[in-house]
């Protein structure tokens, strides 16, 4: 009992965590980083409604995150839709029999809109935008530009984090809708034009079994991924240290952490969101 108490008190002792050899160091470091992200999220939310609103940066970020991601989302969604269409066709043809492939339509649409497209868009934007955010803010940090912002009356969270998070929150669902359309069209193209599945039945089955909620749940996920990408990018940028090497490290971490979080959060959101309404 006493041993347990001593161990508990030791947990409160900062010296216990000060050495990298101690496993508790890593646990403490993890908790500290979770705390940093939590505080940044809180600070971002707190500053969301405070003036002055950084309209110019917000619009720039809408373009940077949304419009400029269109080519990469188009390609990813198109080939995602094609390969998903291909495997669905094979599955129906092999296991249920010829003629059943028309039921591939709703399966493809459901799989794409609920899972594949939000994940693909999230991962692609994380690689493209999360890294850019971390690199830009990281460079500003090591060249004292963030200190200069503060000294010139701008709150760095309000100026840097809020517009990026808000733009990412808005643009990820927009990119996902766009990706859904491209992906579903690619699946339709593969099944009907290449494999000769009946177009009318394919579309009829898709419309019959597909629900608006399937698309909506994908958009909810995309919005959450948007916040994750921007917040992790900003967080890594703001804690950058050590010159060019530090910026490189922050960029890599931003992509890796955001990508892993997207996959983990996607699973829990899939569990939490109802299958239909």
């Amino acid at each position: 009992m006493l041993g347990l108490l001593t161990w508990s008190f030791n947990l409160l002792n900062p010296k216990m965590f000060s050495t990298a050899k101690n496993p508790l160091f890593y646990f403490n470091s993890f908790l500290q980083q979770v705390g940093e992200v939590g505080l940044l999220l809180f600070d971002t939310f707190k500053n969301l409604f405070k003036k002055p609103w950084e309209k110019r940066i917000f619009i720039q970020q809408l373009e940077q995150i949304g419009v400029r991601s269109l080519p990469v989302v188009s390609l990813t969604a198109a080939f995602g839709g094609l390969v998903f269409g291909l495997q669905t066709y094979i599955g129906f043809h092999r296991y249920i029999g010829p003629g059943s492939e028309t039921y591939g339509g709703p399966i493809i649409s459901l799989g794409l809109s609920k899972e594949l497209i939000p994940i693909l868009v999230g991962l692609m934007v994380s690689g493209r935008v999360g890294s850019a955010i971390a690199a830009e803010i990281g460079t500003m940090k090591i060249t004292e530009q963030i200190d200069a912002l503060f000294s010139l009356g701008a709150n760095p969270t309000r100026y840097l984090v809020v517009p990026r998070t808000l733009a990412s929150l808005i643009m990820l669902p927009c990119l996902t809708i766009y990706g859904d359309i491209i992906g579903m069209a690619a699946g339709f193209f593969y099944n009907t034009y290449i494999m000769g599945v009946n177009r009318v039945l394919y579309i009829r089955n898709t419309l019959l079994y597909m629900e608006l909620w399937d698309i909506m749940s994908g958009l909810i996920k995309a919005a959450v991924f948007g916040v994750i990408i921007a917040l992790i990018g900003c967080w890594q940028g703001l804690r950058t240290e050590g010159g060019a090497e530090g910026v490189g490290r922050a960029t890599t971490r931003a992509v890796v952490i955001a990508s892993i979080l997207i996959l983990i959060v996607n699973f829990f959101l899939s569990m939490a969101l109802p299958a239909d309404l």
Partner: protein, 248 residues
């Protein structure tokens, strides 16, 4: 004007400031000298509110700024203009946008007036017609001058300079020193400069203080500093490797 009382700051086990006390009076130029890494920049970042001390007070006209929230702090720091060591110009903005940044935040002036003030302040530091250039198109000396124009644009009454002559050649450094003196005379500002450049320090200072081992160990006029009996001060101002300062 600014009074620093018993300021302490540590980063982990590293005790950077260990009881700094100093006072900056209206209209004077105070230069803080010290080795690289002795905590000069840390001291400056406390004054501008970028860092919070572990202990101690920073009083600006009697108001302790160490516990103020950001919005309240900005009402005080509006009175500060700061020239950063690496100039810290925003590289995504033009020179004009850089100089106008503080004006947009600290004043209600319309855009046209801000544009005029940007031109006027750039002219004050000897730069004309460069509003539309990007910072990467400027030389080191020009960047310093744009940084200075940005710092003085909204008429602060306290100027803070972080190593103003570092990274530029001696002639440009002297031109920056002249600008510092001119700004003080024209704008009637109190000036705090941190540097390890003794040529600049002697030229611009009314008083010089030396920061060593986390404390101000000597304070006086340039002549008093030159004639100081303190061996640490003598070693530093003469730039000698031999002496009581060993941790270089």
């Amino acid at each position: 004007m600014i009074r620093i009382v018993d300021l302490h700051k540590s980063f982990g086990q590293n005790k950077v400031l260990q009881g700094v006390n100093l006072r900056l009076k209206h209209g004077e130029t105070l230069v803080i000298i010290g080795q690289s890494g002795c905590g000069k920049s840390v001291l400056l970042k406390h004054i501008i509110g970028l860092l919070k001390p572990d202990r101690g007070k920073i009083l600006v006209d009697g108001v302790d700024i160490t516990n103020l929230k950001d919005d309240e702090l900005h009402k005080i720091t509006k009175r500060f203009g700061m020239l950063f060591q690496g100039t810290a110009l925003f590289d995504s903005m033009t020179v004009g946008q850089n100089v106008g940044f503080g004006l947009e935040r600290y004043t209600d002036f319309p855009q046209e007036e801000i544009k005029e003030l940007v031109k006027e302040n750039l002219a004050k530091v000897g730069l004309i017609g460069i509003e539309n250039l990007m910072p990467y198109e400027l030389s080191g000396g020009m960047k310093k001058r744009v940084g200075l124009a940005r710092a003085i644009a909204y008429r602060p009454d306290i100027m803070l300079y972080d190593e103003p002559s570092t990274g530029i050649d001696p002639i440009r450094a002297d031109a920056i020193n002249d600008l510092v003196i001119r700004m003080k005379k024209e704008l009637k500002v109190a000036t705090l400069i941190i540097t390890h450049d003794m040529v600049s320090a002697y030229k611009v200072a009314d008083r010089i203080g030396m920061l060593y081992a986390g404390q101000i160990i000597e304070m006086g006029s340039p002549e008093e500093i030159k004639n100081s009996n303190n061996q640490v001060v003598q070693q530093f101002i003469h730039g000698r490797a031999e002496g009581p300062i060993k941790n270089w």
